[in-house]
Amino acid sequence: MLPSLAFLAVFFAVPMFQAFGLALQAPDGTGYSLDAVRQMLSDGAFTRALGTTLLLMVAIVPVQFVIALGMAMVVNARLKGADLWLYVFALPLGISELASGIVWFSIFTEQGWLNSVLQQLGLTHQSIVFLDYQRPWLVLATIVVAEAWRATAIIMVILVSGLQGIPRDFVEAADVFGASVWQRLRHVVLPLLKPSIRVALILRTILALQVFATVVALAGGTTTVLANEAYRWYYRLRDARVAAAYASLVLLLSLVSTVGYLVTIRGDEEQLG
Protein backbone atom coordinates (compact mmCIF):
# COMPACT_ATOMS: atom_id res chain seq x y z
CA MET A 1 0.00 0.00 0.00
CA LEU A 2 2.54 2.58 1.12
CA PRO A 3 5.21 1.56 -1.41
CA SER A 4 2.73 2.03 -4.24
CA LEU A 5 1.78 5.46 -2.93
CA ALA A 6 5.43 6.44 -2.55
CA PHE A 7 6.13 5.30 -6.10
CA LEU A 8 3.25 7.29 -7.52
CA ALA A 9 4.32 10.32 -5.50
CA VAL A 10 7.82 10.20 -7.01
CA PHE A 11 6.86 9.26 -10.55
CA PHE A 12 3.46 10.89 -10.89
CA ALA A 13 2.80 13.74 -8.44
CA VAL A 14 6.29 15.24 -8.36
CA PRO A 15 6.80 15.27 -12.15
CA MET A 16 3.41 16.89 -12.52
CA PHE A 17 4.55 19.86 -10.46
CA GLN A 18 7.95 19.74 -12.11
CA ALA A 19 6.29 20.12 -15.50
CA PHE A 20 4.84 23.44 -14.40
CA GLY A 21 8.02 24.44 -12.60
CA LEU A 22 10.13 23.69 -15.64
CA ALA A 23 7.78 25.59 -17.91
CA LEU A 24 8.03 28.65 -15.67
CA GLN A 25 11.79 28.45 -15.16
CA ALA A 26 13.85 31.43 -16.22
CA PRO A 27 16.27 30.74 -19.13
CA ASP A 28 19.33 30.98 -16.85
CA GLY A 29 17.82 28.40 -14.50
CA THR A 30 17.34 30.76 -11.56
CA GLY A 31 13.98 32.22 -10.62
CA TYR A 32 10.76 32.16 -12.59
CA SER A 33 9.69 33.76 -15.81
CA LEU A 34 7.08 33.34 -18.50
CA ASP A 35 9.83 33.12 -21.08
CA ALA A 36 9.17 29.50 -22.15
CA VAL A 37 5.42 30.02 -22.23
CA ARG A 38 5.91 33.11 -24.38
CA GLN A 39 8.19 31.16 -26.67
CA MET A 40 5.57 28.42 -27.00
CA LEU A 41 2.78 30.89 -27.76
CA SER A 42 4.79 32.77 -30.38
CA ASP A 43 5.93 29.60 -32.16
CA GLY A 44 4.39 29.23 -35.61
CA ALA A 45 3.26 25.66 -34.98
CA PHE A 46 1.49 26.44 -31.70
CA THR A 47 -1.90 27.56 -32.98
CA ARG A 48 -2.01 24.72 -35.49
CA ALA A 49 -1.06 22.13 -32.86
CA LEU A 50 -3.63 23.38 -30.37
CA GLY A 51 -6.33 23.68 -33.01
CA THR A 52 -5.67 20.20 -34.40
CA THR A 53 -5.62 18.63 -30.94
CA LEU A 54 -8.94 20.20 -29.98
CA LEU A 55 -10.47 19.33 -33.35
CA LEU A 56 -9.32 15.72 -33.04
CA MET A 57 -10.80 15.56 -29.57
CA VAL A 58 -14.14 16.88 -30.76
CA ALA A 59 -14.19 14.66 -33.87
CA ILE A 60 -12.94 11.38 -32.41
CA VAL A 61 -15.05 11.15 -29.28
CA PRO A 62 -18.53 11.05 -30.90
CA VAL A 63 -17.43 8.78 -33.77
CA GLN A 64 -15.99 6.28 -31.32
CA PHE A 65 -18.96 6.52 -29.11
CA VAL A 66 -21.41 5.55 -31.81
CA ILE A 67 -19.25 2.61 -32.97
CA ALA A 68 -18.64 1.45 -29.39
CA LEU A 69 -22.34 1.63 -28.54
CA GLY A 70 -23.15 -0.41 -31.65
CA MET A 71 -20.56 -3.02 -30.69
CA ALA A 72 -21.75 -3.10 -27.09
CA MET A 73 -25.34 -3.65 -28.19
CA VAL A 74 -24.32 -6.46 -30.54
CA VAL A 75 -22.38 -8.16 -27.72
CA ASN A 76 -25.19 -7.64 -25.25
CA ALA A 77 -27.88 -9.00 -27.60
CA ARG A 78 -26.54 -12.53 -27.02
CA LEU A 79 -26.48 -13.52 -30.64
CA LYS A 80 -25.06 -16.88 -31.58
CA GLY A 81 -21.36 -16.80 -30.77
CA ALA A 82 -21.69 -13.74 -28.52
CA ASP A 83 -18.24 -14.35 -27.05
CA LEU A 84 -16.67 -14.49 -30.47
CA TRP A 85 -18.03 -11.04 -31.39
CA LEU A 86 -16.66 -9.67 -28.13
CA TYR A 87 -13.20 -11.13 -28.77
CA VAL A 88 -13.08 -9.68 -32.26
CA PHE A 89 -14.24 -6.23 -31.14
CA ALA A 90 -11.76 -6.26 -28.24
CA LEU A 91 -8.72 -7.17 -30.37
CA PRO A 92 -7.62 -3.53 -30.88
CA LEU A 93 -6.98 -3.31 -27.11
CA GLY A 94 -3.59 -4.79 -27.99
CA ILE A 95 -2.80 -2.45 -30.87
CA SER A 96 -0.31 0.34 -30.28
CA GLU A 97 -0.84 3.85 -31.52
CA LEU A 98 2.19 3.56 -33.77
CA ALA A 99 1.19 0.24 -35.32
CA SER A 100 -2.32 1.53 -35.93
CA GLY A 101 -0.93 4.65 -37.62
CA ILE A 102 1.18 2.53 -39.98
CA VAL A 103 -1.69 0.13 -40.69
CA TRP A 104 -3.86 3.02 -41.85
CA PHE A 105 -0.95 4.56 -43.69
CA SER A 106 -0.80 1.34 -45.76
CA ILE A 107 -4.48 1.86 -46.55
CA PHE A 108 -4.52 5.60 -47.27
CA THR A 109 -1.16 6.08 -48.95
CA GLU A 110 -1.26 6.93 -52.64
CA GLN A 111 -0.50 3.40 -53.84
CA GLY A 112 -2.24 1.90 -50.86
CA TRP A 113 -5.11 -0.46 -50.26
CA LEU A 114 -7.97 2.00 -50.54
CA ASN A 115 -6.87 3.20 -53.97
CA SER A 116 -6.19 -0.42 -55.02
CA VAL A 117 -9.66 -1.53 -54.08
CA LEU A 118 -11.39 1.53 -55.54
CA GLN A 119 -9.66 1.00 -58.89
CA GLN A 120 -10.19 -2.75 -58.95
CA LEU A 121 -13.89 -2.13 -58.42
CA GLY A 122 -13.77 0.40 -61.24
CA LEU A 123 -14.97 3.24 -59.03
CA THR A 124 -12.01 5.49 -59.77
CA HIS A 125 -9.42 5.52 -62.54
CA GLN A 126 -6.74 7.59 -60.89
CA SER A 127 -5.25 7.30 -57.45
CA ILE A 128 -6.67 9.76 -54.97
CA VAL A 129 -4.10 11.43 -52.76
CA PHE A 130 -5.67 11.05 -49.31
CA LEU A 131 -2.62 12.13 -47.37
CA ASP A 132 -2.43 15.37 -49.31
CA TYR A 133 -0.63 17.94 -47.25
CA GLN A 134 -2.40 20.70 -49.12
CA ARG A 135 -5.65 19.37 -47.69
CA PRO A 136 -5.14 19.11 -43.94
CA TRP A 137 -8.82 18.25 -43.45
CA LEU A 138 -8.40 15.02 -45.31
CA VAL A 139 -5.29 14.11 -43.30
CA LEU A 140 -7.18 14.90 -40.12
CA ALA A 141 -10.00 12.61 -41.22
CA THR A 142 -7.56 9.72 -41.73
CA ILE A 143 -6.21 10.28 -38.20
CA VAL A 144 -9.78 10.18 -36.85
CA VAL A 145 -10.40 6.89 -38.69
CA ALA A 146 -7.16 5.35 -37.37
CA GLU A 147 -7.88 6.44 -33.81
CA ALA A 148 -11.48 5.26 -34.02
CA TRP A 149 -10.27 1.88 -35.20
CA ARG A 150 -7.69 1.49 -32.45
CA ALA A 151 -9.21 3.00 -29.34
CA THR A 152 -12.90 2.15 -29.66
CA ALA A 153 -12.34 -1.23 -28.00
CA ILE A 154 -11.69 0.35 -24.59
CA ILE A 155 -14.97 2.26 -24.71
CA MET A 156 -16.80 -0.82 -25.97
CA VAL A 157 -15.56 -2.92 -23.05
CA ILE A 158 -16.59 -0.26 -20.50
CA LEU A 159 -20.02 0.04 -22.12
CA VAL A 160 -20.52 -3.74 -22.27
CA SER A 161 -19.80 -4.09 -18.57
CA GLY A 162 -22.14 -1.16 -17.95
CA LEU A 163 -24.87 -2.77 -20.04
CA GLN A 164 -24.52 -6.05 -18.19
CA GLY A 165 -25.30 -4.20 -14.99
CA ILE A 166 -28.69 -3.11 -16.32
CA PRO A 167 -31.41 -5.58 -15.32
CA ARG A 168 -33.00 -7.10 -18.41
CA ASP A 169 -36.45 -6.63 -16.86
CA PHE A 170 -36.13 -2.87 -17.30
CA VAL A 171 -35.64 -3.12 -21.02
CA GLU A 172 -38.26 -5.85 -21.39
CA ALA A 173 -40.77 -3.79 -19.43
CA ALA A 174 -40.24 -0.90 -21.82
CA ASP A 175 -40.71 -3.35 -24.70
CA VAL A 176 -44.01 -4.59 -23.27
CA PHE A 177 -45.26 -1.01 -23.03
CA GLY A 178 -44.55 -0.66 -26.74
CA ALA A 179 -41.35 1.38 -26.68
CA SER A 180 -39.47 1.27 -29.95
CA VAL A 181 -35.79 0.30 -30.12
CA TRP A 182 -34.81 3.97 -30.25
CA GLN A 183 -37.09 4.88 -27.32
CA ARG A 184 -35.71 2.05 -25.24
CA LEU A 185 -32.19 3.20 -25.98
CA ARG A 186 -32.92 6.85 -25.35
CA HIS A 187 -35.06 6.61 -22.21
CA VAL A 188 -34.02 3.38 -20.51
CA VAL A 189 -30.57 2.20 -21.52
CA LEU A 190 -28.64 5.44 -21.91
CA PRO A 191 -29.70 7.01 -18.60
CA LEU A 192 -28.76 3.82 -16.72
CA LEU A 193 -25.49 3.71 -18.59
CA LYS A 194 -24.56 7.24 -17.52
CA PRO A 195 -21.76 6.31 -15.08
CA SER A 196 -20.06 4.06 -17.64
CA ILE A 197 -20.48 6.70 -20.31
CA ARG A 198 -18.83 9.28 -18.09
CA VAL A 199 -15.82 7.08 -17.36
CA ALA A 200 -15.50 6.24 -21.04
CA LEU A 201 -15.70 9.90 -22.06
CA ILE A 202 -13.06 11.00 -19.56
CA LEU A 203 -10.62 8.29 -20.57
CA ARG A 204 -11.23 8.73 -24.27
CA THR A 205 -10.70 12.49 -24.13
CA ILE A 206 -7.42 12.01 -22.30
CA LEU A 207 -6.31 9.51 -24.91
CA ALA A 208 -7.18 12.02 -27.62
CA LEU A 209 -5.06 14.66 -25.86
CA GLN A 210 -1.97 12.48 -26.02
CA VAL A 211 -2.29 11.30 -29.62
CA PHE A 212 1.24 11.23 -30.98
CA ALA A 213 2.49 8.32 -33.07
CA THR A 214 -0.64 8.10 -35.23
CA VAL A 215 0.01 11.66 -36.32
CA VAL A 216 3.68 10.93 -37.05
CA ALA A 217 2.77 7.86 -39.10
CA LEU A 218 -0.06 9.43 -41.11
CA ALA A 219 0.78 13.11 -41.35
CA GLY A 220 4.57 12.81 -41.35
CA GLY A 221 5.22 16.10 -39.63
CA THR A 222 2.96 18.25 -41.77
CA THR A 223 0.05 18.24 -39.36
CA THR A 224 1.00 18.58 -35.74
CA VAL A 225 -0.60 18.15 -32.33
CA LEU A 226 0.43 19.23 -28.85
CA ALA A 227 2.19 15.98 -27.94
CA ASN A 228 4.19 16.13 -31.18
CA GLU A 229 5.28 19.67 -30.41
CA ALA A 230 6.38 18.62 -26.92
CA TYR A 231 8.38 15.84 -28.58
CA ARG A 232 9.84 18.20 -31.23
CA TRP A 233 10.96 20.77 -28.66
CA TYR A 234 12.45 18.18 -26.39
CA TYR A 235 13.96 15.76 -28.87
CA ARG A 236 14.85 17.86 -31.89
CA LEU A 237 15.30 21.35 -30.46
CA ARG A 238 16.62 20.24 -27.07
CA ASP A 239 14.61 22.77 -25.14
CA ALA A 240 13.07 21.06 -22.11
CA ARG A 241 11.42 24.25 -20.88
CA VAL A 242 9.25 24.83 -23.93
CA ALA A 243 8.53 21.10 -24.09
CA ALA A 244 7.42 21.32 -20.44
CA ALA A 245 5.21 24.27 -21.31
CA TYR A 246 3.45 22.03 -23.86
CA ALA A 247 3.24 19.22 -21.31
CA SER A 248 1.67 21.63 -18.80
CA LEU A 249 -0.84 22.75 -21.38
CA VAL A 250 -1.86 19.13 -22.05
CA LEU A 251 -2.20 18.53 -18.29
CA LEU A 252 -4.35 21.63 -17.88
CA LEU A 253 -6.57 20.66 -20.80
CA SER A 254 -7.09 17.17 -19.38
CA LEU A 255 -7.99 18.67 -16.01
CA VAL A 256 -10.50 21.05 -17.59
CA SER A 257 -12.12 18.31 -19.67
CA THR A 258 -12.37 15.88 -16.75
CA VAL A 259 -13.94 18.49 -14.46
CA GLY A 260 -16.21 19.45 -17.34
CA TYR A 261 -17.49 15.90 -17.72
CA LEU A 262 -17.90 15.45 -13.95
CA VAL A 263 -20.01 18.60 -13.76
CA THR A 264 -22.12 18.06 -16.87
CA ILE A 265 -22.77 14.32 -16.50
CA ARG A 266 -23.77 13.92 -12.90
CA GLY A 267 -24.05 10.53 -11.29
CA ASP A 268 -22.85 8.21 -8.61
CA GLU A 269 -19.26 9.23 -7.85
CA GLU A 270 -18.17 5.77 -6.71
CA GLN A 271 -18.91 4.48 -10.19
CA LEU A 272 -15.60 5.86 -11.39
CA GLY A 273 -14.23 2.65 -9.98
Partner: protein, 290 residues
Protein backbone atom coordinates in the same frame (compact mmCIF):
# COMPACT_ATOMS: atom_id res chain seq x y z
CA UNK B 1 -59.01 -25.16 -49.41
CA UNK B 2 -55.64 -26.61 -50.38
CA UNK B 3 -53.01 -27.63 -47.90
CA UNK B 4 -50.77 -24.67 -48.72
CA UNK B 5 -53.46 -22.08 -48.12
CA UNK B 6 -54.26 -23.73 -44.82
CA UNK B 7 -50.62 -23.45 -43.76
CA UNK B 8 -50.48 -19.88 -44.97
CA UNK B 9 -53.65 -19.07 -43.03
CA UNK B 10 -52.23 -20.65 -39.91
CA UNK B 11 -49.04 -18.71 -40.32
CA UNK B 12 -51.03 -15.48 -40.77
CA UNK B 13 -52.96 -16.12 -37.55
CA UNK B 14 -49.83 -17.00 -35.64
CA UNK B 15 -48.35 -13.67 -36.63
CA UNK B 16 -51.58 -11.85 -35.82
CA UNK B 17 -51.39 -13.18 -32.28
CA UNK B 18 -47.78 -12.07 -31.80
CA UNK B 19 -47.39 -8.82 -33.64
CA UNK B 20 -43.96 -8.14 -32.16
CA UNK B 21 -42.44 -11.41 -33.37
CA UNK B 22 -41.79 -10.32 -36.91
CA UNK B 23 -40.32 -7.01 -35.86
CA UNK B 24 -38.08 -8.81 -33.40
CA UNK B 25 -36.86 -11.25 -36.02
CA UNK B 26 -36.05 -8.35 -38.30
CA UNK B 27 -34.22 -6.69 -35.41
CA UNK B 28 -32.09 -9.80 -34.86
CA UNK B 29 -31.25 -10.03 -38.53
CA UNK B 30 -30.13 -6.40 -38.46
CA UNK B 31 -28.01 -7.12 -35.40
CA UNK B 32 -26.25 -9.95 -37.26
CA UNK B 33 -25.58 -7.63 -40.17
CA UNK B 34 -24.18 -5.04 -37.76
CA UNK B 35 -22.05 -7.68 -36.05
CA UNK B 36 -20.52 -8.80 -39.35
CA UNK B 37 -19.90 -5.24 -40.56
CA UNK B 38 -18.29 -4.20 -37.27
CA UNK B 39 -16.10 -7.31 -37.29
CA UNK B 40 -14.98 -6.50 -40.83
CA UNK B 41 -14.13 -2.97 -39.69
CA UNK B 42 -11.83 -4.42 -37.02
CA UNK B 43 -10.38 -7.35 -38.97
CA UNK B 44 -9.94 -6.05 -42.53
CA UNK B 45 -7.06 -3.64 -41.70
CA UNK B 46 -5.34 -6.43 -39.74
CA UNK B 47 -5.66 -8.73 -42.75
CA UNK B 48 -4.33 -6.05 -45.10
CA UNK B 49 -1.26 -5.23 -42.99
CA UNK B 50 -0.48 -8.95 -42.74
CA UNK B 51 -0.69 -9.34 -46.50
CA UNK B 52 1.49 -6.23 -46.97
CA UNK B 53 4.10 -7.40 -44.48
CA UNK B 54 4.37 -10.78 -46.20
CA UNK B 55 4.61 -9.43 -49.73
CA UNK B 56 8.16 -9.84 -51.04
CA UNK B 57 10.04 -6.58 -51.40
CA UNK B 58 10.23 -6.70 -55.20
CA UNK B 59 6.43 -6.82 -55.31
CA UNK B 60 5.93 -4.19 -52.61
CA UNK B 61 5.19 -1.47 -55.14
CA UNK B 62 2.81 -3.45 -57.33
CA UNK B 63 -0.34 -1.47 -58.03
CA UNK B 64 -3.18 -2.11 -57.74
CA UNK B 65 -2.36 -4.44 -54.87
CA UNK B 66 -4.12 -7.83 -55.07
CA UNK B 67 -6.39 -8.32 -52.02
CA UNK B 68 -5.73 -12.06 -52.29
CA UNK B 69 -1.93 -12.20 -52.28
CA UNK B 70 -0.17 -13.64 -55.30
CA UNK B 71 3.34 -13.61 -53.84
CA UNK B 72 3.94 -14.52 -50.22
CA UNK B 73 7.27 -14.55 -48.40
CA UNK B 74 8.74 -13.81 -45.03
CA UNK B 75 11.50 -11.82 -46.71
CA UNK B 76 10.23 -8.36 -45.78
CA UNK B 77 9.77 -9.21 -42.11
CA UNK B 78 13.19 -10.86 -42.15
CA UNK B 79 14.69 -7.72 -43.76
CA UNK B 80 13.13 -5.60 -41.00
CA UNK B 81 14.43 -7.85 -38.23
CA UNK B 82 17.96 -7.64 -39.70
CA UNK B 83 17.90 -3.85 -40.11
CA UNK B 84 20.39 -2.07 -37.94
CA UNK B 85 19.28 -1.51 -34.38
CA UNK B 86 16.09 -3.57 -34.63
CA UNK B 87 17.26 -6.64 -32.71
CA UNK B 88 18.77 -4.45 -29.96
CA UNK B 89 15.57 -2.42 -29.70
CA UNK B 90 13.53 -5.62 -29.61
CA UNK B 91 15.62 -6.83 -26.68
CA UNK B 92 15.24 -3.47 -24.94
CA UNK B 93 11.46 -3.57 -25.39
CA UNK B 94 11.16 -7.06 -23.97
CA UNK B 95 13.38 -6.33 -20.97
CA UNK B 96 11.69 -2.98 -20.22
CA UNK B 97 8.30 -4.68 -20.30
CA UNK B 98 9.50 -7.44 -17.97
CA UNK B 99 10.97 -4.93 -15.47
CA UNK B 100 7.74 -2.92 -15.64
CA UNK B 101 5.74 -6.05 -14.94
CA UNK B 102 8.05 -6.97 -12.05
CA UNK B 103 7.95 -3.61 -10.28
CA UNK B 104 4.27 -2.97 -10.82
CA UNK B 105 3.36 -6.45 -9.53
CA UNK B 106 5.66 -6.16 -6.51
CA UNK B 107 4.20 -2.78 -5.57
CA UNK B 108 0.67 -3.11 -6.89
CA UNK B 109 -0.46 -6.64 -6.02
CA UNK B 110 -0.04 -6.30 -2.20
CA UNK B 111 -1.90 -2.99 -2.36
CA UNK B 112 -4.63 -4.61 -4.41
CA UNK B 113 -4.89 -7.44 -1.88
CA UNK B 114 -5.14 -5.00 1.03
CA UNK B 115 -7.75 -3.00 -0.84
CA UNK B 116 -9.82 -6.14 -1.42
CA UNK B 117 -9.52 -7.65 2.06
CA UNK B 118 -9.06 -5.05 4.74
CA UNK B 119 -11.14 -2.11 5.81
CA UNK B 120 -8.53 0.40 6.91
CA UNK B 121 -8.48 4.09 7.56
CA UNK B 122 -7.96 6.09 4.38
CA UNK B 123 -9.04 3.17 2.20
CA UNK B 124 -11.40 5.22 0.08
CA UNK B 125 -8.93 8.12 -0.03
CA UNK B 126 -6.29 5.71 -1.33
CA UNK B 127 -8.70 4.35 -3.91
CA UNK B 128 -9.56 7.83 -5.06
CA UNK B 129 -5.89 8.79 -5.31
CA UNK B 130 -5.24 5.77 -7.50
CA UNK B 131 -8.27 6.47 -9.66
CA UNK B 132 -7.45 10.13 -10.10
CA UNK B 133 -4.15 9.27 -11.77
CA UNK B 134 -6.19 7.85 -14.60
CA UNK B 135 -7.65 11.27 -15.34
CA UNK B 136 -4.24 12.52 -16.50
CA UNK B 137 -2.25 11.78 -19.62
CA UNK B 138 0.57 10.14 -17.68
CA UNK B 139 2.95 9.68 -20.63
CA UNK B 140 3.29 13.45 -21.01
CA UNK B 141 5.10 13.39 -17.65
CA UNK B 142 8.02 11.84 -19.55
CA UNK B 143 9.26 15.36 -20.22
CA UNK B 144 9.86 16.50 -16.61
CA UNK B 145 10.98 12.94 -15.79
CA UNK B 146 13.62 13.07 -18.52
CA UNK B 147 15.18 16.09 -16.81
CA UNK B 148 15.10 14.28 -13.46
CA UNK B 149 16.51 11.08 -14.95
CA UNK B 150 19.47 12.98 -16.41
CA UNK B 151 20.44 14.17 -12.91
CA UNK B 152 19.88 10.67 -11.51
CA UNK B 153 21.98 9.15 -14.27
CA UNK B 154 19.26 6.81 -15.51
CA UNK B 155 18.35 8.70 -18.68
CA UNK B 156 18.50 6.45 -21.75
CA UNK B 157 18.55 3.29 -19.62
CA UNK B 158 16.18 0.33 -19.49
CA UNK B 159 15.41 1.12 -15.87
CA UNK B 160 14.40 4.71 -16.61
CA UNK B 161 11.86 3.70 -19.25
CA UNK B 162 10.62 0.85 -17.05
CA UNK B 163 10.04 3.24 -14.12
CA UNK B 164 7.98 5.52 -16.35
CA UNK B 165 5.98 2.57 -17.67
CA UNK B 166 5.43 1.39 -14.10
CA UNK B 167 3.86 4.75 -13.26
CA UNK B 168 1.56 4.09 -16.21
CA UNK B 169 0.77 0.50 -15.23
CA UNK B 170 0.67 0.67 -11.44
CA UNK B 171 -2.84 2.13 -10.99
CA UNK B 172 -4.13 -0.54 -13.39
CA UNK B 173 -2.33 -3.28 -11.44
CA UNK B 174 -3.69 -2.11 -8.06
CA UNK B 175 -7.30 -1.87 -9.26
CA UNK B 176 -7.25 -5.08 -11.28
CA UNK B 177 -5.56 -7.23 -8.63
CA UNK B 178 -7.98 -5.87 -6.05
CA UNK B 179 -10.96 -6.81 -8.22
CA UNK B 180 -9.44 -10.28 -8.73
CA UNK B 181 -8.84 -10.88 -5.01
CA UNK B 182 -12.39 -9.78 -4.23
CA UNK B 183 -13.69 -12.73 -6.27
CA UNK B 184 -11.88 -15.25 -4.03
CA UNK B 185 -14.28 -15.94 -1.15
CA UNK B 186 -12.94 -14.68 2.15
CA UNK B 187 -14.56 -17.67 3.88
CA UNK B 188 -12.23 -20.12 2.15
CA UNK B 189 -9.22 -18.21 3.41
CA UNK B 190 -10.67 -18.12 6.92
CA UNK B 191 -11.46 -21.83 6.80
CA UNK B 192 -7.84 -22.56 5.92
CA UNK B 193 -6.74 -20.45 8.87
CA UNK B 194 -8.96 -22.33 11.30
CA UNK B 195 -7.64 -25.63 9.92
CA UNK B 196 -4.15 -24.57 10.93
CA UNK B 197 -2.76 -22.67 7.97
CA UNK B 198 -0.63 -19.62 8.62
CA UNK B 199 -1.66 -16.34 6.99
CA UNK B 200 1.04 -16.82 4.36
CA UNK B 201 0.07 -20.48 3.92
CA UNK B 202 -3.59 -19.60 3.43
CA UNK B 203 -2.61 -17.03 0.85
CA UNK B 204 -0.25 -19.25 -1.16
CA UNK B 205 -2.37 -22.39 -0.93
CA UNK B 206 -5.88 -21.01 -1.26
CA UNK B 207 -5.99 -17.45 -2.57
CA UNK B 208 -3.13 -17.54 -5.04
CA UNK B 209 -4.20 -20.67 -6.98
CA UNK B 210 -7.73 -19.29 -7.32
CA UNK B 211 -6.58 -15.86 -8.37
CA UNK B 212 -3.81 -17.09 -10.65
CA UNK B 213 -5.59 -17.13 -14.04
CA UNK B 214 -6.84 -13.59 -13.53
CA UNK B 215 -3.44 -12.43 -12.31
CA UNK B 216 -1.76 -13.99 -15.33
CA UNK B 217 -4.18 -12.19 -17.64
CA UNK B 218 -3.48 -8.91 -15.86
CA UNK B 219 0.26 -9.56 -16.17
CA UNK B 220 0.00 -10.10 -19.92
CA UNK B 221 -1.91 -6.87 -20.23
CA UNK B 222 0.63 -4.93 -18.16
CA UNK B 223 3.37 -6.33 -20.35
CA UNK B 224 1.53 -5.11 -23.44
CA UNK B 225 1.02 -1.67 -21.95
CA UNK B 226 4.79 -1.29 -21.86
CA UNK B 227 5.40 -3.04 -25.20
CA UNK B 228 3.00 -0.67 -26.97
CA UNK B 229 4.01 2.62 -25.33
CA UNK B 230 5.62 5.07 -27.75
CA UNK B 231 5.78 8.65 -26.48
CA UNK B 232 7.54 8.26 -23.13
CA UNK B 233 9.94 5.68 -24.55
CA UNK B 234 10.89 8.11 -27.31
CA UNK B 235 11.50 10.99 -24.90
CA UNK B 236 13.42 8.94 -22.33
CA UNK B 237 15.86 7.20 -24.68
CA UNK B 238 18.59 8.23 -27.07
CA UNK B 239 20.94 5.39 -28.02
CA UNK B 240 18.96 2.59 -26.41
CA UNK B 241 15.43 2.99 -27.79
CA UNK B 242 12.64 0.48 -27.38
CA UNK B 243 11.23 -0.96 -30.60
CA UNK B 244 8.38 1.59 -30.96
CA UNK B 245 10.80 4.45 -30.16
CA UNK B 246 13.25 3.22 -32.81
CA UNK B 247 10.50 2.88 -35.40
CA UNK B 248 8.95 6.29 -34.72
CA UNK B 249 12.34 8.00 -34.90
CA UNK B 250 13.32 6.38 -38.21
CA UNK B 251 9.84 6.37 -39.75
CA UNK B 252 10.15 9.38 -42.04
CA UNK B 253 13.26 8.14 -43.82
CA UNK B 254 12.25 4.49 -43.86
CA UNK B 255 11.17 2.53 -46.94
CA UNK B 256 7.55 1.42 -47.14
CA UNK B 257 8.32 -2.31 -46.70
CA UNK B 258 10.30 -1.42 -43.54
CA UNK B 259 7.34 0.48 -42.10
CA UNK B 260 4.80 -2.21 -42.87
CA UNK B 261 6.97 -5.01 -41.52
CA UNK B 262 7.58 -2.92 -38.39
CA UNK B 263 3.86 -2.48 -37.82
CA UNK B 264 3.24 -6.19 -38.21
CA UNK B 265 6.16 -7.00 -35.94
CA UNK B 266 4.76 -4.81 -33.17
CA UNK B 267 1.19 -6.04 -33.70
CA UNK B 268 1.69 -9.79 -33.79
CA UNK B 269 2.80 -10.48 -30.18
CA UNK B 270 0.33 -7.95 -28.80
CA UNK B 271 -2.61 -9.50 -30.64
CA UNK B 272 -1.49 -12.99 -29.63
CA UNK B 273 -1.52 -11.78 -26.01
CA UNK B 274 -4.99 -10.32 -26.28
CA UNK B 275 -6.19 -13.58 -27.83
CA UNK B 276 -4.68 -15.54 -24.94
CA UNK B 277 -6.47 -13.46 -22.29
CA UNK B 278 -9.72 -13.07 -24.27
CA UNK B 279 -11.86 -14.74 -21.59
CA UNK B 280 -10.66 -12.32 -18.94
CA UNK B 281 -11.00 -9.09 -20.90
CA UNK B 282 -14.41 -8.11 -19.57
CA UNK B 283 -13.49 -9.07 -16.03
CA UNK B 284 -10.28 -7.08 -16.18
CA UNK B 285 -12.02 -3.92 -17.23
CA UNK B 286 -15.43 -4.15 -15.67
CA UNK B 287 -14.41 -2.94 -12.24
CA UNK B 288 -11.52 -0.82 -13.35
CA UNK B 289 -13.17 1.47 -15.79
CA UNK B 290 -10.04 2.08 -17.79
Amino acid sequence: MTATTVTAERERRRRAVRPGARRRRLGRALLYVAAVLLSLWVLAPLYLITVTAFTPRDHAFDFPKPVIPTHVSGGTVDFFARSSGVLGALGTSVVVAVITLGISTALGAPAGYALARHAFRGRSAYRLAILSTRAFPIVILAIPLAVTFITWGIFDTLLGVALMHTALALPFTVLVTSSIFVTVPKELEEAARTLGCTAVGAFTRIVLPMALPGLAAAAIFTWELSWNEVFAATILTLDHPTLPALVVNTLQGASLPFRFAAAWFMLAPALAGIFLIRRYLLGLWSRVGH
